[in-house]
Symmetry: C2
């Protein structure tokens, strides 16, 4: 089971990026989490380049296509979704393999409700399958934990692992339907 | 009176960009509208570069600082603010001269209420002064008008000119307060 993780912050010390790296280390056996490394290299979305996108966009689309599900963590800036995250999603709006993909949104600062709500509205509009059980809020803002601290803290590691498992259950439940190549009747 | 216009779309045939270019041509005498030309050259926002931003960001900030007010037109993508527009705003969140700047949001597709609402929430959170009278909805999506068509169409030109005038009235009303260097009493 392959999960693709997208962080909406380019800050080196971003808690959202650290959370996703921690998730990659906490993933149970059989679940592989790849944190997408080129969020900051994506061009700004230009509809005129939809059919001939720049290379980092091609890489993003390939990674999305290859993933069984997506894991998203993104900061709130000025009561809105970060431009970095929205820009990545804008490149995926008309990318067919995105639709129907199970997605978990991890909110690292639960008081930031505006961006969380807006991000989920956009994901639903893009026909992603938001997996409610896997969308967890973990109050990390101000907790002073780095990646290692998150891995070590039971209060962080346990909900992350439960979220990964819930996300993968949903992805597994959907996969056989997609793979059915013979009549079932 | 100088207005800076920001378009949230990089598409060559964008109705939002055409609307802002039309506004520049329709501006009454004494009002100069500059459409910012480097929206697509801005780097993706990185908080680590806040104090040492890339050159296009420096240009954006200088243009904002020099403007008496801002005129914004931006598309809705997947029920959200375009990443292009949000990314530009993310670079301005902690740029002090942005706060208190009068802003008009022109909505060229009034059925797109999600992005319009979210954009205004972000602008208010950034302490911009949203000028209600200058925030107009002009149903252009599907109208088939290009820049010249907008200039020529009374139903477009008239509300744009009223919006520019309302925005400038607010900017003028605020300017003397900022410039007051002597005791008024």
């Amino acid at each position: 089971m392959k999960l693709l993780a997208l962080s909406g912050s380019l800050r080196a010390a971003s808690i959202n990026s650290a959370l996703l790296r921690a998730a990659a280390r906490l993933a149970p056996s059989g679940i592989e989490v790849e944190v997408f490394g080129a969020m900051g290299e994506l061009s700004l979305f230009n509809p005129d380049r939809e059919s001939d996108p720049p290379l980092p966009v091609v890489r993003l689309r390939r990674a999305v296509d290859a993933a069984d599900a997506l894991l998203i963590a993104s900061p709130e800036y000025a009561h809105g979704v970060s431009g970095v995250m929205k820009n990545a999603l804008d490149w995926l709006v008309s990318f067919a393999p995105f639709a129907g993909k199970p997605v978990a949104v991890i909110n690292a600062s639960p008081r930031a409700a505006h961006a969380d709500t807006a991000l989920k509205e956009t994901l639903r509009t893009m026909s992603a399958v938001l997996v409610d059980e896997a969308c967890v809020a973990i109050p990390l803002l101000g907790a002073g934990l780095d990646e290692q601290g998150m891995v070590d803290a039971e209060a962080v590691a346990a909900p992350i692992q439960r979220a990964l498992e819930a996300l993968c259950r949903e992805a597994a439940r959907r996969r056989p339907l997609d793979d059915a190549t013979f009549p079932l009747g």
